[in-house]
Subunit: 385 residues, 2 copies
C-alpha cells in the first residue's frame, strides 16, 4: 500500500487504532483476483452487467442460504435472503421502510456511530439502553419499552450488534438474547441484528443468532463481506422472514435499480463457491487475533491501573473506560499530536455529553509491530506525561 | 445471451418493447473487459477494494468534471460532483435529505414510474404537471406552485427528465427550460435533472442543461452509466453546487459505507479515461437510432390513423396515445398473449386512472429484425383483430 492509498487522516507517520477497516493487505488476494477473472470470462458476465434480479444474485443467495442454515441451524429458503449494497444499504432500507419520522428506534448505549447517523437521517428518535458484559441490559430495556408504550410512541425497531459489538467488542450472551427476544415479541418490536463481525470469531463459536433463536421471525439479520473480503465491493445481505424480503424487493429503489450491485455480488458468489472465503477467514482470524493479543498485552503493560477495557473474543474493537475526570476527546487529540489515532467514545452514544470518558481502539488496521508502540504512547498520554 | 440470462417475463418466444434496458449484447465489450483487467492488475486495486473516498472515485470525478465542463460549457470543480450507486441511489439520497413527509415534489405527467415509487417511499406528496411537445407546461407549473404556496405546502423539489424523457421520449426545449428555472428560482424549488439519456442523442446536440442554464445553482444533475456502459455496475453521479455535494458526503449512508461502489467506479474511470466510452457511445447511438427508425417506420405502417406517437431524437422511448375509449392496460395484456410486451401508460402518472389510453414502447432491447413484426402484431391488437 502506498501513501496515496491510505485513508483520510492516516499517513506513514501515524499509527491508526481508530479505523474499523480491514487491513488493506488482506484485500485483492490472488484467489479474489481469480474469481474476478472467472466471472468476466464466463457467459455470466453479460448477465451480471445487466440490471440484476431484484432480490440479488441468485448464486450468492443460494450460497448464503446454505451457509446460514448450516452455521445457524436454520432452515431458510431462497425467499429469506436478499442481497444489499453492504450493511449500509441494508440499514438505510430498513429505516426507510420500517420507520416513520418520530418513531423510536432503540439502540445499545454505546453503538455504531454511523448507524445512529443513518437512522437520524430518517427523522427517528433514538433511545440508548446501557450495556453490561452480556449485552443490552434487559431490565432497562423493559423499563424503556414500558415508558415509550405509555407515551404512545411507536417502537418499530431495536438495532443491535450482537457479536464483537462496535464499539465495545462485547458479545451478547445467549441468555440475554433470549430475554431480549421475549421483550421484542411482547412489545411488537423487530430486532435488527447487525452481524457483520460474526465470521471473525477467534475463539469459541458465537452464540445462537437472534434470527435463529426467534425461529426466523421477529429479526432481520444483516451480513456483509466488507470486514472479511473487501468493503469496496459494497456487498451485504439481509436474512429474515419472507414477508420482509418481499418488502425489500418491492420497494422503490429495488424496482428502479434492480438488485444490489450485480457484478460485485457475482464476484463474491464465485469467490465463495470456490471455498476461497472460508480459507481467507482462517487467515484473517489468525491475523486479527494475533493483533488483538498484542493490543490487550500492551494495554496490561502500559495503562495505569484505573483504566479498564473489554476483552473481545473476535471482531475489531476494544473499549476503554477512563477514570472519571479524564476526557476521551482530549486524550484523542493529545494522542493524535503524538502520532496515535484513536476514537473517543462520546459519539457512540445517543447522548454524547453524558459519556465523556471512553476510547475505542481497533486492532484491524495497524501493523502488529506498531501496536505496542502506539499503546505505550497512549498510556503516556493517559498518565499525562 | 442465453435464455437463462433474460430478464423476468421475457423469453425467446416474446419480443420486448417494454424494457428500458440497454441491449445485453452491448455489455461487457472487449474494451470494458480490458479496463477491468487493468484495474485489477494495478496498485489501485487494493485501494478500490477498500472503503472509498466519501465523495467517490477521485479518478472518475476528475474525468466527469472535465467532460461536463466541456460538453455543458460549465466551470465545475471536483467539489461539484459526487459519485452515486446509479441514478437510483442519487434519487433516493436526494429524496431522503431534501424532503420531509408531506412535502410536495413536482414531476412531469407522465414521468418515470420508478422515480414516483422512490419518492413515495419517503412519504412525499407527488404532483404531476402536464407536458406538451416542449416539456412541462410552464403556465400549469406556475398555477400549481401558486396553489401549493397558498396552501402552505413546502415544495423542495421539481423532478424532471429533460432529454429523451421516460416515458414520452420528449426533449424539453431551451425556452421552456429557461421558463422553468425562472419559476424554480421564484418559488425556491430545486430542480432535480435526471439526465441519464443525454449521451444518447441521435441527431442534434441536446439543449443546454438546467444546471448550465442556472449557472450551476438551483439544479442537481443526475447522470449514470446504466444506459450506456452497464447497469450492473451501479455507477452514477450528481453534479451540482458544492454545498449540496457536501451534504451528500456528510450524510449517514456515505459516512457509514464510504463513497459509492469504489471498485465498479474505478472500472468506469479506467474505461472512460481510455476513450472507450466515447467510442462505445458512437456504436450504440447508431444501434439505437437504427432501431428507433425501424420502430417509427413500423408505427407509420401498422397503426390505425387515430393513434399518435412521439418522435424521439434520442434515448429509448416512444409514447403512444390511443383513441379515447381504448384502454392501454387491456391492449398490453392482449399484446402479451400474442408475444409482444409493451408498457401501458397509466402507471407513469401520479393519477393513473385519469390516463388510461397510452402505451410506452422501447426500442433499446428488441432486435432490429423483430421490431417490425412486434409493431404489426400490436397494430392488429389495437385495431381489435
Amino acid at each position: 500500500m502506498t501513501t496515496s492509498t491510505l485513508p483520510q487522516g492516516v499517513n506513514a507517520q501515524t499509527i491508526s487504532l481508530r479505523l474499523g477497516h480491514p487491513d488493506p493487505a488482506t484485500l485483492g488476494t490472488p484467489s479474489f483476483q481469480e474469481a474476478v477473472r472467472r466471472v468476466m470470462a464466463s457467459p455470466q458476465a453479460a448477465h451480471a452487467l445487466a440490471y440484476g434480479n431484484e432480490q440479488g444474485s441468485v448464486d450468492l443467495i443460494a450460497y448464503l442460504v446454505e451457509r446460514i442454515n448450516r452455521e445457524q441451524h436454520l432452515s431458510l429458503g431462497a425467499e429469506n435472503v436478499t442481497i444489499t449494497a453492504g450493511s449500509t444499504n441494508a440499514t438505510d432500507m430498513i429505516a426507510r421502510l420500517y420507520t416513520q419520522p418520530g418513531d423510536a428506534v432503540i439502540v445499545e448505549a454505546p453503538t455504531y456511530v454511523d448507524s445512529l447517523h443513518v437512522f437520524r437521517d430518517h427523522g427517528v428518535r433514538l433511545y440508548g439502553v446501557p450495556m453490561d458484559s452480556e449485552g443490552i441490559r434487559s431490565t432497562e430495556l423493559e423499563s424503556l419499552l414500558k415508558q415509550l408504550a405509555s407515551e404512545g410512541i411507536n417502537v418499530p425497531l431495536l438495532y443491535t450488534i450482537p457479536n464483537f459489538h462496535n464499539p465495545t467488542g462485547i458479545t451478547t450472551s445467549e441468555q440475554r438474547r433470549k430475554a431480549i427476544i421475549e421483550l421484542a415479541r411482547q412489545y411488537g418490536v423487530l430486532i435488527v441484528e447487525d452481524d457483520v463481525y460474526r465470521d471473525l470469531a477467534f475463539e469459541a463459536a458465537v452464540p445462537p443468532s437472534y434470527l435463529a433463536l426467534a425461529g426466523g421471525e421477529h429479526a432481520m439479520q444483516i451480513g456483509s463481506v466488507s470486514k472479511t473480503i473487501a468493503p469496496g465491493l459494497r456487498v451485504g445481505w439481509i436474512a429474515t422472514a419472507a414477508e420482509h424480503v418481499q418488502r425489500f424487493v418491492d420497494c422503490g429503489t429495488t424496482q428502479m435499480g434492480g438488485g444490489a450491485n450485480p457484478l460485485a455480488a457475482q464476484f463474491v458468489a464465485e469467490y465463495c463457491k470456490a471455498g476461497s472465503w472460508d480459507a481467507h477467514l482462517e487467515d484473517i482470524r489468525h491475523l486479527y487475533s494475533t493483533r488483538r493479543d498484542a493490543l490487550l498485552d500492551a494495554l496490561s503493560r502500559y495503562m495505569p491501573p484505573e483504566v479498564t477495557w473489554t476483552q473481545p473474543l473476535g471482531g475489531f474493537f476494544v473499549w476503554l473506560t477512563l477514570p472519571e475526570g479524564l476526557n476521551g476527546a482530549a486524550i484523542k487529540r493529545a494522542a493524535a499530536e503524538r502520532g496515535v489515532l484513536v476514537a473517543s467514545g462520546e459519539g457512540f452514544f445517543t447522548q454524547p455529553q453524558a459519556h465523556p470518558n471512553h476510547l475505542r481502539l481497533t486492532y484491524s488496521f495497524a501493523a502488529l509491530e506498531d501496536i505496542g508502540k502506539a499503546v505505550r504512547i497512549l498510556g503516556e498520554v493517559v498518565r499525562g506525561n
